[in-house]
Symmetry: C2
Subunit: 319 residues, 2 copies
């Protein structure tokens, strides 16, 4: 059984790597960029190369689905390098391939704002997938980089799902029909994602999990309802966990360099922070709640915990 | 027998790739940057990825010495991605590894000016290998990138040869004791290079080959004299051939963005352009002149034409 977290945004250190290791997390997609450009993202990828070398007993950077399996077999956590924006491309199509060579395997098309590729979930207008965006999606397909639509606007998401030749992901969001929030996805987007073979990573983040964030049992119930909605093959986990993050980090995520005004980010709703999933060591609460729910057979639990991500990664990543 | 050109600076197109192919050139190190920074160099590496795809019947990008052998076995020319400056690093140590991942295998520490890494052959003062320069050389050793000292100042060159844990190259220069020119190398630098297992690529470029550029026979005689100087294991070819280059290209090479004044570059001397080596198809003139010289056995000719480069690449490049 593989345990995969489809999206985290922690400030990693050896302690967190040890928690991932102790919780037997097989793989985690990390966030190497929110608003960063090409050079800044390369700085962070360079730091990840150092982190992987300095913590080689606990983690390794995965470039293929097979890398995840061998990491798990060797008792290490595979780090999948991801970014939550297409700003690292600096508007250059050819940088998709270069970043793939540098190890990047997951790219969200937009973060919280409209960009050259498409519209964001927080924009009043969504441009749809732009001319450049269509090129980027095809290039990601060609080189083997997973398209992530989590913060992307609904129109752009639907157009990207249809434009993409490979299945895509929503690595960290929940169904809007269960929890209304701009970051969550309406049923038509989720069904199109599933029809195309994609995977939705359900988030434990209180602001977008709402009442379902109050306990592992409530969260397991959201999993069950989402499985009812789009099928057992298309639901995974993408906690959006952000360990070791301070106000400065939140400020960067929410305001970047694009505004001087206060920005709530996902904290539009007034949902209290949950305390049952604050670290990878708490994954056991999720596993137990899924088992106790009664809705799932063991093979379903395997699919949700990591099997579905693995199928997607196998189909998308290339060496 | 492998035929390797250790340094060219042409503006490649399909016609030139066909000439390399027809001349059975096994490998050529190209110039992806003179003054370019990280982003500009990545643009060019991206274009090389396209060129390799669009001319896959003629060329392939080599990442290892084995790639060169398989390219040669398959009748294709291996392109080794090189830069003639360390400006692509944008002063970042970690970019050495990232550029290696993007396929870069040869980096000249400085072009015509002092930079953050060391001093240039044209500077009145040579800083020597700087603190950052020492880090860069060690990082190039670690990841498997060849250190090139062709345009580098003599003090920096000697310090880099001693700092490097792997053999290094002077990919395109001639002995200053045969042709006096700032771009050519004094005997102490050449002997230190050879003592450390390195290779000197002799250039056909008239401005630095002087009287030895007047005919293939004269040039073969420079090869013989250089072999007398540093030994048969340390002499190769690095023509410095620049096909399809116009005034704009020369202007960029000589003035970059660092001056508005006219700059002669290597054209300090008044040597007429040679006409016997203007294209890879003329390699046959070199091979014949080496054979006819009388000084070399067949195994010596193999070493000069490609064997010495291959030994160096095998020892330095890593997958």
């Amino acid at each position: 059984m593989l345990l995969i977290d489809g999206l985290e945004c922690s400030n990693y250190n050896r302690e967190i790597f040890r928690e991932l290791h102790d919780a037997k997390v097989s793989a985690v997609t990390i966030t190497a960029a929110f608003w960063e450009d090409a050079l800044e993202t390369m700085d962070e990828l360079g730091r990840w190369n150092d982190r992987a070398r300095n913590n080689a007993d606990l983690i390794t950077i995965a470039r293929t689905a097979e890398d995840i399996e061998s990491a798990a077999a060797g008792g290490r956590t595979a780090v999948i390098l991801g970014v939550q924006n297409s700003t690292p491309l600096n508007d250059r199509l050819r940088f998709v391939e270069l970043f793939h060579r540098m190890g990047l395997r997951v790219m969200q098309l937009t973060y919280n704002n409209q960009n050259a590729v498409g519209g964001s979930c927080y924009e009043p207008e969504d441009s749809g997938l732009t001319r450049f965006g269509r090129e980027v999606v095809h290039e990601m397909n060609r080189v083997g980089m997973l398209v992530d639509l989590s913060h992307v606007g609904n129109r752009t998401s639907l157009e990207a799902i249809h434009a993409s030749e490979s299945p895509v992901a929503i690595t960290h969001a929940n169904p809007a029909s269960l929890v209304e929030h701009p970051r969550n996805k309406p049923d038509d987007v989720l069904k199109a994602l599933a029809d195309a073979g994609g995977v939705l990573g359900l988030a434990t983040y209180n602001n977008i999990a709402g009442d379902y964030a109050t306990s592992p049992q409530a969260w397991a119930d959201m999993v069950a309802r989402t499985v009812d909605l789009i099928g057992i093959d298309h639901v995974g986990i993408g906690t959006d966990l952000g360990q070791n993050s301070g106000d400065g980090d939140l400020d960067w995520m929410r305001r970047g360099r694009w505004t001087r005004d206060a920005q709530p980010g996902a904290a539009l709703s007034n949902v209290p922070e949950q305390d049952w999933f604050r670290s990878p060591t708490h994954f056991e609460a999720i596993t137990s709640a899924l088992r106790d729910h009664g809705r799932f057979e063991e093979k379903d639990i395997d699919a949700i915990l990591g099997g579905n991500w693995m199928r997607l990664y196998r189909g998308v990543f290339k060496p």
